[in-house]
């Protein structure tokens, strides 16, 4: 996802494409090195790693357990059956899990701005975004992806879908584009923290809140809320619209059928915005001087 993002920025400023290209390679390389370092450090406390990875799996699993508990009392929720909701849930949870694995540490930017340790990152000859993204890389987040994939797998086994090539292609497309959209939200949230230093929780409303929202069908929510996550923060493109295409159900807000194919474009658009936001934020950074 980091790659998609930087390419988005390249597209925005074609004049410096060549320099950007090498910076992209450099950034990805640095990201890999820092990630490898954190992997070694995490593995120093193996028991703790296993516990947190299992914990991550269970924690996210509780979300689906909650939905299953709801379905011990009802047959449909917002007009959708449990397997149908499992498809929405699995797609959203997996997409979010991927973004969280790659960029989930970005919410530490605010802390680094506050305690002045961001300065250390600025003087290194490595893109700051790559350093921040790889900061405290946590492999335990695989727990969330595993859980999402399991629910997705359950949905695909149980649901009786008339598969077409387009519907098959829709599945990887929606998970990857969805991860990119969530990743962009992480970066915008981190950029916002250059201004509001201890407001990292606002980001949670859009990331964790967003994935929770997408785990339920759009028919559950008020129209204005659905409008907001379609046109303002385009989360609806992560799972709702492509998944509803796969399920052959009606779209919210009377949207046309073809919008289900937009997620890759929406993802690129999100990354252009995220790349710009990050640059503006970083430029506005003033050190604490301590």
């Amino acid at each position: 996802m980091a790659e998609v993002g930087v390419e988005g920025v390249v597209g925005a400023e074609p004049g410096i494409a060549f320099a950007e290209r090498s910076r992209l390679v450099e950034g990805v390389r640095a990201y890999g090195l820092i990630v490898a370092m954190w992997l070694r450090s995490t593995m120093a406390y193996r028991a703790s790693f296993v516990m947190t990875a299992v914990g991550n799996f269970v924690a996210t699993g509780f979300d689906f357990v909650t939905i299953m508990l709801m379905f011990t009392h009802v047959d449909v929720l917002g007009g959708y059956t449990l397997p149908e909701i499992a498809l929405l849930y699995g797609a959203s949870a997996t997409a979010f899990g991927l973004a969280d694995l790659v960029l989930g540490s970005m919410d530490r930017v605010g802390r680094r701005v506050r305690d002045g340790t961001l300065d250390t990152l600025l003087v290194r000859p490595v893109p700051v975004l790559a350093q921040v993204a790889a900061d405290r890389f946590a492999l335990r987040r695989l727990g969330r992806i595993t859980q999402g994939l399991l629910v997705l797998g359950y949905a695909l086994v149980v649901l009786d879908i008339e598969w077409t090539p387009l519907k098959v292609a829709m599945l990887p497309m929606m998970v990857l584009s969805g991860a990119a959209v969530f990743g962009a939200v992480f970066v915008v949230g981190a950029a916002f923290q250059f201004y509001a230093q201890d407001a990292s929780e606002v980001q949670n409303a859009f990331t964790y809140g967003g994935t929770t929202l997408l785990q339920y069908p759009p028919s559950v929510f008020a129209k204005d809320l659905v409008r907001g996550v379609t046109f303002v923060v385009p989360l609806a493109f992560v799972s709702w619209l492509p998944a509803l295409y796969v399920l052959g159900r009606d779209y919210p807000l009377d949207l046309p059928r073809w919008v289900a194919f937009l997620p890759p474009l929406v993802a690129v658009g999100c990354w252009v915005v995220a790349g710009l936001a990050w640059r503006v934020g970083l430029r506005a950074y003033r050190s604490t001087g301590s």
Partner: protein, 266 residues
């Protein structure tokens, strides 16, 4: 006693410093409140009076959950990080020299924190929830008072659990895993994700008997007027019972742990 009051006031002031963070938290609690409220509406539309709650009681439950999430530290996020760090680095030895009781010291600070979070992160989401949805707010001031007592007991139970988790650092060194398991249990068994009344069969019985139900389920039911007279006394006794048992367990673990530190030479 005065010492602990000062420590509690310090705990309150410390969290009151983070104004932007508090605002950000209120925003997040409100967003989650809205998302959960709509899912509950879908659920109660399908099955009215589920779990003995009508629609507006169910919605009230959602917003109480958001209001108490930080107060009762259902997902952790209080003193335990800091205490664990002090145990890991050995700074705990300094704490043990102080002429103050370790458990009471941290509890006083945590009560101050909880008081701030109730005011700072509880009231605004609740008010916004009440503006957007039809909530079942108690008419009698006594119910509000009974609710506050139940919340206070819930905070003590929450503290007692987290103190035990923090002390595990004496043995585990890196307590991140234990802490995560604790907040998972807190989140699920407090009734934060779904009221425990909706948990089926044995799972429901067990969940309602565990200490975590003191953090949200019991205070919410007090708020919704489920308990009156002796039932209310019973609810309090349940919470206080767990508080006493867990605090005593913490005390026992503390004395075992401190002896270990002395044996190791601090």
């Amino acid at each position: 006693m005065r010492l602990y009051a000062v420590v509690a006031a310090g705990g309150f002031r410390r969290y009151a410093t983070y104004r932007v963070a508090t605002l950000a938290g209120v925003f997040t609690n409100t967003v989650f409140g809205f998302i959960m409220a709509y899912t509950y509406i879908a659920l109660w539309d399908e099955r009215p009076h589920l779990g003995g709650y009508d629609m507006s009681q169910a919605l009230t439950y959602v917003w109480l959950g958001q209001a108490l999430l930080m107060t009762c530290a259902m997902m952790g996020g209080g003193f335990e990080d800091e205490l664990m760090e002090r145990i890991r680095t050995g700074d705990i030895a300094v704490d043990l020299y102080r002429p103050a009781d370790l458990q009471l010291w941290w509890m006083a600070g945590d009560l101050g924190r909880a008081a701030f979070h109730l005011l700072g992160r509880g009231i605004v989401p609740m008010v916004l929830g009440a503006l957007a949805f039809d909530l079942a707010l108690p008419g009698s001031p006594w119910t509000w008072l009974a609710f506050l007592v139940s919340v206070a007991l819930g905070v003590v139970v929450s503290f007692a659990v987290r103190f035990l988790v923090a002390l595990s650092a004496f043995w585990l060194m890196d307590g991140a895993g234990a802490m995560q398991i604790a907040w998972l249990a807190g989140l699920f068994f407090s009734g934060m994700l779904l009221p425990l009344n909706l948990f089926p069969g044995v799972l429901g019985d067990v969940a309602r008997a565990l200490p975590w139900s003191s953090l949200l389920q019991v205070p919410a039911d007090v708020f919704l007027g489920t308990y009156a007279g002796w039932d209310l006394a019973g609810a309090y006794a349940f919470q206080a019972g767990w508080a006493v048992v867990l605090l005593l367990a913490g005390r026992l673990l503390q004395s075992v742990a401190t002896r270990r530190v002395v044996v190791q030479g601090g």
